[in-house]
């Protein structure tokens, strides 16, 4: 109970949810248009690396962030080309991107910056010390104290993504393309263009999630620093039933249970056992509360009408 009363636990929950929620929502965009996206892990790494690299080179973390988005977007465009234009197997392509990105970022880190990585003087994105109003609320104020600005951007993006997918014309068309591309095509919707859009938005959000790790929380990169978050994000996306709010909720659950696992350590129980908590809790929540989650009907199926 004292553990739960510690605001640090909740601050940690929020902070750890960011690099899961962003790629999970990114994946939601991609899969809502019908492209299975397992490349989140790789694109996060790309975002993380180029974010911090450009932050160092330009001395401005915001430019770093921008470059992370641009390069992450380019890589996801390549993925999209393979998945949409060539109708290649989307899972294989995604794994290819992951392997490629892991190699590329490690290679560049070692050759450009050396094994000790980017210098410690590299700028990071600012933290928001406190939000007037919120900082007055006793417990909650502590949670939001000194979080990265990307935490707030994420919250904004969750809402924006929901609005975009479910309340705009483009969102409606994107969803239709992921459900039944032929039907969408027969009413004049440009299936390929929307799929490109979905995948690239997905790439941007994944890259943003990666950049959060390297220039949001820290100001450095280490090889494989995403540590499987892209895959967890995939799970969070499914857990959240392919919706932004759902993905965010699942990311919070993961963040919370990871934080709980950390907090419970040091009392004689093996860390290996305690680190099972997030995974076990997810299965329990999935089986007990969430139940069936059905993907968009055309998810993963290339659209190639024989004309």
């Amino acid at each position: 109970m004292t553990i739960l009363a510690n605001p640090e636990l909740w601050a940690s929950t929020l902070s750890m949810a960011v690099p899961l929620a962003l790629p999970a929502i990114g994946g939601t965009f991609s899969e809502r248009t019908g492209v299975v996206n397992i490349a989140m892990e790789g694109i996060m790494l790309i975002g993380a690396f180029f974010g911090v690299a450009f932050s160092y080179w330009t001395g401005n973390a915001w430019i770093g962030l921008l470059m992370a988005l641009i390069i992450g977007g380019l890589v996801s465009a390549a993925f999209a080309w393979g998945a949409i234009r060539v109708s290649a197997d989307q899972v294989v392509l995604g794994m290819a991107v992951n392997i490629f990105a892991a190699g590329l970022t490690a290679f560049l880190l070692d050759t450009v910056f050396g094994f000790s990585g980017t210098p410690t003087t590299t700028p990071k994105l600012p933290n928001v010390k406190s939000i007037p109003g919120i900082d007055q609320i006793p417990f909650v104020g502590k949670i939001f104290e000194n979080q990265s600005i990307l935490v707030y951007i994420m919250i904004l993006l969750v809402i924006l993504s929901h609005w975009f997918l479910f309340h705009t014309r483009l969102g409606l068309r994107m969803r239709s393309v992921g459900e039944h591309p032929l039907a969408a095509d027969t009413v004049g919707v440009n299936v390929w263009r929307l799929r490109y859009t979905g995948v690239i938005i997905g790439g941007l959000l994944s890259a943003l999630g990666g950049a959060y790790l390297s220039i949001g929380v820290l100001n450095s990169f280490s090889v494989n620093m995403t540590n499987g978050r892209g895959y967890i994000a995939l799970a969070a996306m499914i857990f959240g039933k392919w919706t932004p709010f759902g993905s965010f909720g699942a990311a919070l659950l993961f963040g919370f249970s990871t934080a709980l696992g950390i907090a419970l350590q040091g009392q004689g129980i093996s860390s290996n056992i305690l680190q099972m908590i997030p995974y076990a809790l997810t299965i329990l929540a999935l089986a007990g509360l969430v139940g069936r989650s059905n993907p968009p009907a055309a998810d993963g199926i290339p659209y190639e009408p024989k004309r």
Partner: protein, 357 residues
């Protein structure tokens, strides 16, 4: 055209990847011929290297077969890693107990226990929750995989399987449960013909199961349409559980064979990522069991060749990943080759058409 698609275009696609990779590698200041030469010679350059390639491909093939069965049944088993490791742990545990058993019986027992534990790990929770609650198997198999790896790690980091002493590792399995190598050369590449036989047998068995038995027919029907399966009188839930069990069974088999044939004990490391690579193996093979053999060998060759590439041409390990990623990307995109050819033909015929008219 069909034969062309199946054989030639992946080769051409790999070539394309190799050319692009070569340009990249030269841009980084390495000699692409040396780099690729070392990749190929590392994978196939000597009997030992070929042995290494096969050794590296065996766990990928076995996991890949399991994943292919799941895919054919309409399920995505993303957690073969965990199934592999719990299967490994179980096989090793049996391997250093029951030492009074005759060697061959002990080996069979290890393998069976490894398979059963893998099957239960992959099948019970993911299978039952999928069948009865509809929980998505990508999440449950992934979560169970993480739990399985943590469990295996716990077992040797202070848990009941840790060998007395300094290092976190299990005791070695009994001498006579180690799969025999038969020859010096094979030993150097840690390649047991028994493991090879098991792998080939597993591929044949998978093919037979999927395409020749009513069980396989039912699995595939469930994979293509739950409604039609129900109409056909197939117990859909049962076959969902069965498919995930079978999938885990093969991952457990992979772990057992690896432990008995190569590792001989549970070591701290757990970094193999067989699960993810095997997904690519299964999909590149279009979930065809014999295709899985080939794709597995392809990845085995990339692994051993990649290691050799580092040694011979001094390319950093990370660059081998870059090349591997490129090659997989283009092999996946092999369909672009006939498209390019077609486009070229059409352009040419258009041009000649324009000339004649």
């Amino acid at each position: 055209m069909k034969a062309f698609r199946i054989i030639l275009s992946p080769i051409l696609a790999s070539l394309l990847a190799i050319i692009i990779g070569g340009i990249l590698v030269s841009a980084m200041g390495y000699n692409p011929f040396v780099v690729y030469g070392s990749l190929v010679s590392g994978a196939f350059g000597s009997v030992i290297n070929i042995g290494n390639t096969i050794t590296a491909s065996i766990p990928l093939i076995l996991c890949g077969l399991g994943i292919a069965i799941a895919f054919q049944s309409g399920l995505f088993n993303i957690g073969a890693d965990g199934q592999y490791w719990v299967g490994s742990a179980a096989a090793v545990w049996v391997g250093y107990h029951f030492t009074t058993l005759p060697g061959w019986l002990h080996i069979i027992l290890c393998i069976i226990v490894g398979m059963v534990v893998g099957a239960l790990w992959g099948g019970i929770i993911p299978g039952l929750t999928k069948a009865f609650v509809g929980s998505h198997e990508v999440i449950t198999t992934m979560m169970m995989s993480y739990i399985g790896i943590l469990l295996a790690r716990y077992l040797i980091e202070g848990g009941p399987m840790q060998q007395k002493g300094y290092n976190p590792q299990s005791p070695p399995i009994a001498q006579n449960t180690q799969l025999p190598y038969f020859s010096q050369v094979l030993q150097q590449s840690q390649l047991s013909l028994v493991a090879v036989a098991i792998t080939i047998l597993a591929a044949v068995a998978t093919w037979f199961l999927l395409y020749k038995t009513t069980t396989g027919y039912q699995l595939r029907t469930v994979g293509l349409s739950h409604r039609a399966a129900k109409y056909a009188g197939i117990k859909v839930k049962l076959f969902i559980v069965l498919a995930l069990c079978l999938s885990g069974l093969f991952a457990g088999l992979a772990g057992s064979v690896q432990m008995l044939g190569v590792d001989h004990r549970l070591l701290d490391g757990f970094s193999s990522e067989y699960g993810y690579t095997a997904i690519v193996v299964a999909l590149l093979a279009r979930n065809n069991p014999f295709g899985v053999l080939l794709a597995g060998l392809f990845f085995g060759a990339l692994t051993t060749g990649g290691q050799n590439m580092q040694i011979v041409s001094q390319v950093p390990a990370a660059l081998t990943d870059v090349l591997t990623g490129l090659i997989i990307f283009f092999v996946a995109c092999e369909r672009i080759i006939p498209q390019i050819i077609q486009w070229y033909r059409r352009r040419r015929s258009l041009r000649s058409g324009a000339l004649t008219s």
